[in-house]
Symmetry: C2
Amino acid sequence: MATKIKECSANAYNLTVLAAACEVNDALKSISPRWKMQILYSISIGIKQFSQLKKTFPTLSDQVLGKRLGELVTEGLASKTVVADKTPSQIMYSTTEKGAALLAVILDLYQWATKEWKPSACQITH
Amino acid sequence: MATKIKECSANAYNLTVLAAACEVNDALKSISPRWKMQILYSISIGIKQFSQLKKTFPTLSDQVLGKRLGELVTEGLASKTVVADKTPSQIMYSTTEKGAALLAVILDLYQWATKEWKPSACQITH
DNA sequence: CCGCATCCCTTTGGATACTG
DNA sequence: CAGTATCCAAAGGGATGCGG
């Protein structure tokens, strides 16, 4: 879709660009917030509870975690399940299909990053 | 890489997550700034000059455009060529291989967004 | 034509503290 | 255990104006 336009005719490219820009903008906006994709990824590999996520990212504060989880749920990338039957009511998160599809793209990004990006010293982003 | 871990052994998943989190974090940070991927994409389809990019994104201000272009160049995603021979010295941008590889991932993201994301009314992000 | 310097405002992330 | 409310500091993006 991107390779054929060379001599750009007035607004033809403009429309193409803007059309592409639109949805990708939303997606980028959804992806960008700090910790968000890491949280989604963590959920996907089995870290499904609030407290576990907290332990996983020690520098991540409660209410940001809560906020991100809320976003993920309202965006349909993750789902929330309450297991209220037993002792202290337990809450589990899991990824939806939509979320899994997104993670596939993110993993592509990860592949790209490790291959083409500066493989700098690995530090947690504080 | 993500599908096999179900029962997570103590810190095994933790290491995995953090290792993944690191490079992807940098990549996400690079990708997130507003207009950046749109600019890179625009360059890739032939909009190679500052003024043309300005015309393409009327609501985008000069110094943000300049900043983004600078970032793209220093990150090795785009390259800058000066054609100083003729009349007013002309500057052309183009995507590097690294940038093209990234765009491929972004297009995947775009595919995902148009398919799985809410296909809402398309408006320019003001 | 191609930007940078400065200022300002909005948004975002985090610290602290409190509830079901 | 699983969050929410409030406040605050930092960063990002935009407007204006100037220089090469």
